[in-house]
């Protein structure tokens, strides 16, 4: 069912092509990987002053500093608690909505669907400023609940649109066949629809987690100075701590993303989503 792909052979052709392709690859490597290497190097460097090409020494002491600093540990703990909660709450409300969007026609369906999309197209800083004024009235400033709500906003589009597409990709007749075999509607959803839509839903979970985990602007507006998460703590870190601490923190911030994407990769590419979305 997947369309045949034409193999692009970039290593053949005239020498000019090869030089350009090579130069482009080197440039992209430096552009993308450069800062990452710099970051990794800084995280383990004793000091590294310009104009030295390499750091002066290797050390783990910056990692120790983080473990010893309560405010940093608090920020890490907050992030690791708040983000899963946000994702679960988001899933609880949005996935049934996604199913409704996918399988049912109701008054206002198109409006809601586009509305969710439009809300994300709005500049977030303006949105958050407006929400902040509302929060003052509701006494939500500086509370975990306030942060959860603000982060939810960023996850709604992922938790609605992506699962809706995933549900829509499950052929109706597969559900019909399950009903004919004796399964109740709930059972059909669990055994057939959800199972086949799972890759798309996993993508939605990963995207939503990252959206919540990395969310800084709204969380800073609402949370600071009482509650910090890892991204918002970064603001303070960069100003008040040595740059190596910031580098370590950056790496810590990236770890959940890397883990999630590596784990999810197996389920997303290759398998039913691949067949459904024609990606191999």
């Amino acid at each position: 069912m997947a369309r045949e792909k034409t193999t692009l052979n970039l290593t053949s052709g005239s020498w000019i092509t090869r030089v350009f392709v090579g130069a482009f690859i080197v440039f992209m490597a430096i552009f993308i990987l450069g800062p990452l290497f710099w970051l990794a190097a800084r995280a383990f460097a004793t000091s590294w002053t310009f104009p030295n090409l390499l750091p002066d020494g290797v050390t783990f002491k910056w990692w120790g500093t983080i473990v010893g600093d309560k405010s940093l540990l608090d920020a890490i703990r907050n992030s690791l608690i708040i983000s899963p909660i946000v994702v679960l709450v988001s899933a609880f409300f949005c996935i049934p909505a996604a199913y409704a969007f996918s399988r049912y026609n109701f008054f206002g369906r198109k409006t809601f669907l586009i509305g969710i999309f439009a809300a994300n197209a709005f500049p977030t800083i303006g949105l958050y400023a407006a929400i902040a004024t509302l929060y003052y009235t509701l006494n939500l400033m500086g509370t975990v609940l306030g942060i959860i709500i603000i982060q939810l906003l960023g996850t709604i589009i992922f938790m609605t649109w992506i699962p809706a597409a995933a549900f829509s990709s499950v052929p109706r007749n597969l559900e019909d066949a399950a009903r004919d075999a004796g399964a109740s509607k709930l059972r059909v959803f669990r055994d057939i629809t959800l199972r086949l839509a799972m890759p798309g839903i996993l993508v939605a979970f990963v995207m939503s987690f990252l959206a919540s985990f990395d969310e800084a602007t709204g969380t800073y507006l609402v949370g600071a100075p009482e509650i910090y998460t890892m991204p918002t703590k970064m603001y303070a870190l960069v100003l008040n701590y040595p740059v190596q601490i910031a580098a370590v923190f950056s790496i810590l911030l990236a770890i959940p993303s890397v883990i999630l994407i590596t784990v999810a990769r197996k389920h997303i590419i290759g398998g039913h989503l691949a067949e459904g979305f024609q990606i191999k």
Binding site: N173, A178, R179, D180, A181, G182, A183, R187, L196, E275
Partner: protein, 339 residues
Amino acid sequence: MSDNVQGAGLELVGLQKILGGRVIIDNLNLTVKKGELVSLLGPSGCGKTTTLRMIAGFLIPDSGQVLLAGKDLTKYGPEKRPSAMVFQNYALWPHMTVFKNVAYPLKIRKMGKEEIEKRVHGVLELVNLMHHKDSRPSQISGGEQQRVALARALVQEPDLLLLDEPLSNLDAKLRIKVREDIRDLHKRLGITTIIVTHDQDEALSISDRIAVMNEGRIEQFSTPQELYDQPATEYVANFIGSLNRFEGEFAEGRLIEGASVVGIRPEDVFFHSSQSAGSYSAKVNLVVPRGHFHEVYLTRDDVKIRAFMSTDIPKQGDIGFATISKALIYKDGKLARTA
């Protein structure tokens, strides 16, 4: 019909269904005997699939009833009905193996593991697919997928078996083989079966009775032979087998203007070089070889008529005599008499 009658009799009473403002099914009545194999035959849009879906429970009729063995099933969803359906594109679950696909209905009924294995193996052997029981649907051929779908339906030991266009996705040779398989299976198991098809060959070759449908109504419900010999309406005569259609009346071998419609089957037209009782002069316009018979186009007084002949095939341009052994005469669309 089979000697081993199982299942229950199906009765459709006054079914009505309106979809999108259009009347799809209009006061449809049908009684299927226990153990019978009945086809719903008609072109696309005649309502046969809608009827099947109402029998299966995917559609609730606006009025009317669906009764199985006397029990009113009309308000029940498909999961509560003792019918099992084989879908047109098989609808096998891609994330399950063949075994799991067939076992699923039994799993739902909370059957024990050994019992499930016994029943699934039994039915897989019946359709000759034991060697594929651990394969995925994407790994087996279309014909094999259909057998899995059939196995999945049969494993439920249904009172009613529903087949939606079972042969339409198969190539010509496979179609004939699967047709025979369905007929043999029905003979063995004797389950009341309803088949939806647009292919008259398919329907004629395996059905005990056929319901010929047109625009949401059943035009005729009879055995294949009756449908062929005594088509109740012009539509049925046209749909089953081939027909030469003339508007008017045949008198003394000449076509006269009239209100009725005359239908003559090509097999009932004969051409001879010599005259005989009741024959008329005719000229051969065209001869088309069709394998085991020839299509011979005859003209008589500007009236063109088609004959099927398998012996003494004339050549184009021959002049001779034509005889008509049987004509169907229709008044207002209904069969008035045969001649």
